[in-house]
């Protein structure tokens, strides 16, 4: 038999029908829906009289438009209240399980899927959110889709798709001190570009990736879409199985053992062919932050901001000039030292327990600099409770951080959490687009440790000096 990739194996297993023109009707094992794209998709389906095909496989939670204010309810954030009510009503009517505000299980949709054991190796998954690629960290084939394809998946338990191209990104070597999965992926996007993986699924491979724990792999896969990819994936291994064992919706007992037998066979075969094959040396990666207005405009924290005058390609030069003007920065200058107004630790990229621990390790015994507003927004109700059980909330509060309620919050600024115009934000999220965190807000993407260090220093700083 021809050697196959992990992606090929999952694809073939889920092909309900090949249409013969390169298109496949692909079975979907799991669908996650949230408060922003879920209600319109369910509404569209209802409007045409189509019921939800397999409600047992669909799970919902409010995350985008619910307030992160301590003591919030689903209605605290006025403009989002209607969507929250509609999510409750429509999921209730369809028999879809909802993990609601204040309930264990609620949280950012890409945090709760793995946490609840809903996302399993070899499974297919869709969600109306581009960061669905996060879930590939467990060896699932996970696609972000728009409202219409969400409705299609709800109504048919399938998607019509062309098989994506396959890219392998092999990362070898040990990570240096202060370098995390976030730094690795920001570095990768800077090296390969924001459209390098368009029409591809990226399989992350190599000794560096194998050494990452599951939460780090979730961060790595989370930013796949920022390289243009349809998704990212990591072959399941013992770390994956250990992570899943005992989770609420993961199989237990003999069924778990049987599943593991199957999951072990999913890894890409020796000699399997990828459409694109690229590599990185982990030892060359420093703590990395973005300086511009796309995730590829990233640089080592101890480097100099690119000087547009030294960029040969006119389009790239123009783009760098526009980004620097928006960011209020000058080319050729150090990035470290830029004064920071806001620090945000949260989002589906970096709001899991290990992320909060990494930030707390920097903050313990220190204080947020005067004039800096600092927020910690746990990725889920479970993460929040676990963090509180080990006293991390105290560490954040004692340092001067606000300890808030789980959701997307300032990553996407859909729930009233916005940074004011001109504010410089060091953020553990995944997008630094123009206006992403509020009109005129200036975002620097960073790891939780780098963000915590910036909060303490009041400026962008090399976390290795802490």
């Amino acid at each position: 038999m021809m050697p196959a990739t992990l992606i090929d194996k999952i694809w073939c297993q889920h092909a309900v029908r090949e249409f013969g023109d390169g298109w496949t009707l692909l079975a979907i094992d799991r669908q996650l829906i949230h408060d922003l794209s879920g209600p319109p998709a369910l509404k569209a389906l209802t409007a045409r009289g189509v019921p939800v095909h397999s409600p047992d496989l669909v799970f919902a939670t409010p995350d985008h438009v619910v307030s992160s204010e301590p003591g919030r309810t689903g209605e605290t954030m006025g403009p989002g209240a209607g969507l929250w009510r509609e999510l409750r009503q429509r999921t209730g009517a369809a028999g879809i399980r909802l993990f609601d505000v204040g309930e264990r299980g609620q949280g950012i949709v890409h945090v709760i899927g793995p946490e609840l054991g809903l996302v399993l190796p070899g499974a297919t998954l869709v969600c109306g959110d581009s960061h669905t690629c996060t879930n590939g960290a467990l060896g699932a084939l996970a696609f972000g889709v728009g409202t219409s394809e969400c409705a299609h998946a709800l109504g048919t338990a399938t998607l019509r798709m062309r098989k994506p191209r396959k890219m392998r990104l092999t990362i070898e070597g040990r990570l240096g001190r202060g370098v995390t999965a976030k730094d690795v992926i920001l570095h990768a996007i800077a090296v390969f570009g924001t459209s390098a993986a368009v029409q591809h699924v990226i399989e992350y491979a190599g000794s560096t990736v194998r050494a990452l724990d599951i939460e780090e792999r979730l961060t790595l896969c989370n930013l796949s879409v920022e390289m243009g990819a349809r998704s990212g994936i990591v072959a399941p291994d013992d770390k994956t199985f250990d992570y899943l064992a005992g989770r609420r919706n993961a199989p237990g007992g003999a069924l778990f053992e049987r599943a593991v037998d199957h999951w072990r066979r999913l890894a890409s075969d020796e000699g399997a062919v990828f459409d694109t094959d690229v590599a990185l040396d982990a030892r060359a990666i420093a703590p990395t932050l973005t300086w511009g207005t796309d995730p590829g405009q990233a640089m080592p924290v101890d480097g100099l901001i690119p000087d547009p005058r030294e960029i040969g390609d006119p389009a790239a030069r123009q783009r760098a000039e526009a980004a620097l003007a928006y960011m209020g920065l000058a080319g050729g200058q150090p990035l470290a030292g830029a004064a920071v107004d806001i620090v945000f630790i949260g989002s589906c990229a970096n709001a899991r327990l290990s992320d909060l621990r990494a930030a707390a390790a920097i903050l313990r015994g220190r204080r947020v600099a005067t004039g800096v507003t600092a927020w910690a927004v746990p990725g889920s109700e479970q993460v929040k409770r676990d963090a509180e059980a080990e006293g991390l909330d105290r560490v954040f509060r004692d340092a001067g951080f606000q300890w808030r309620e789980p959701g997307c919050s300032l990553c996407v600024a859909a729930n009233g959490d916005v940074a004011p115009p001109g504010a410089r934000v060091v953020s553990t999220s995944n997008r630094n687009f123009v206006g992403r965190q509020g009109p005129g807000a200036r975002t620097h993407l960073a790891s939780p440790a780098s963000a915590a260090a910036a909060a303490v220093a009041g400026r962008i700083v090399d976390v290795r000096s802490f």
Binding site: L25, A27, L36, P79, V145, V198, R319
Partner: protein
């Protein structure tokens, strides 16, 4: 979805790469649920100044280009968020076709769901079309049936498009309706999978039962 054949009209050159969907439509504009009224917010960070007045230098605010049905743009157009209303917002602004060297994958798929034609052409051809569009407002033709773009100068560029997508667009076909006809195949696949991979099915069903009882 309405059937799509040809767009004939002015083309505006948005000479910028990585036009992300946050830039196309801010997320807080989507909490109201109204898709047809999104035109006023489309590309707002580019169209309007900080004081709310129009940005006179932005191409779609220039005489002759306002309401242009064809947009010519740089690579990776529509990258970022999966928000499908980004397509609705551009359509509400009057855009019917976008020509670019590459598109964000999710945005590209969403275009076909909503009925806006994304045309991929090599970067050199896009830049040539863009330069012609920027020289003066004049009518271009984007012909899906013939798979070509014709510039006012007569320059003509053929484009590739997936055959299934082209047919869906030309005939205004509805994917959900087509897939519902595959109901038996889907049921058959699911029945087989319950036996092959019971771990996908049993734990979630048991969890629902437990919750229902408690």
């Amino acid at each position: 979805m309405r059937a799509f054949t040809t767009v004939h009209g002015v083309a505006a050159w948005l000479d910028r790469s990585d036009v992300d969907t946050d830039l196309i439509i801010r997320i807080e504009r989507l909490t109201g649920g109204d898709l047809t009224g999104l035109g006023r917010y489309a590309l707002e960070a580019l169209r309007f100044r900080k004081d709310g007045g129009e940005e006179p230098d932005f191409v779609l605010n220039k005489p002759g280009y306002r309401g242009a049905p064809i947009l010519i743009a740089g690579p990776n157009f529509g990258c970022g968020s999966s928000r499908e209303p980004a397509v609705n917002a551009l359509m509400a602004l009057g855009v019917e076709a976008i020509i670019a060297p590459s598109f964000g994958d999710i945005f590209y798929a969403n275009c076909f769901q909503v009925g806006l034609l994304p045309v991929r052409l090599p970067e050199a051809e896009v830049r040539r079309l863009g330069a012609e569009a920027a020289a003066a407002p004049a009518d271009f033709t984007v012909d899906l049936e013939a798979q070509r773009v014709v510039a006012p100068s007569g320059a003509c560029f053929a484009f590739d498009i997936d055959g299934r997508r082209r047919t869906m667009m030309l005939e205004g076909l509805d994917e959900i309706g087509l897939t519902l006809k595959e109901a038996a195949a889907i049921a058959g696949w699911q029945a087989g999978d319950r036996i092959a991979r019971p771990w996908i099915w049993e734990p979630v069903a048991q969890d629902i039962e437990t919750r229902t009882r408690s």
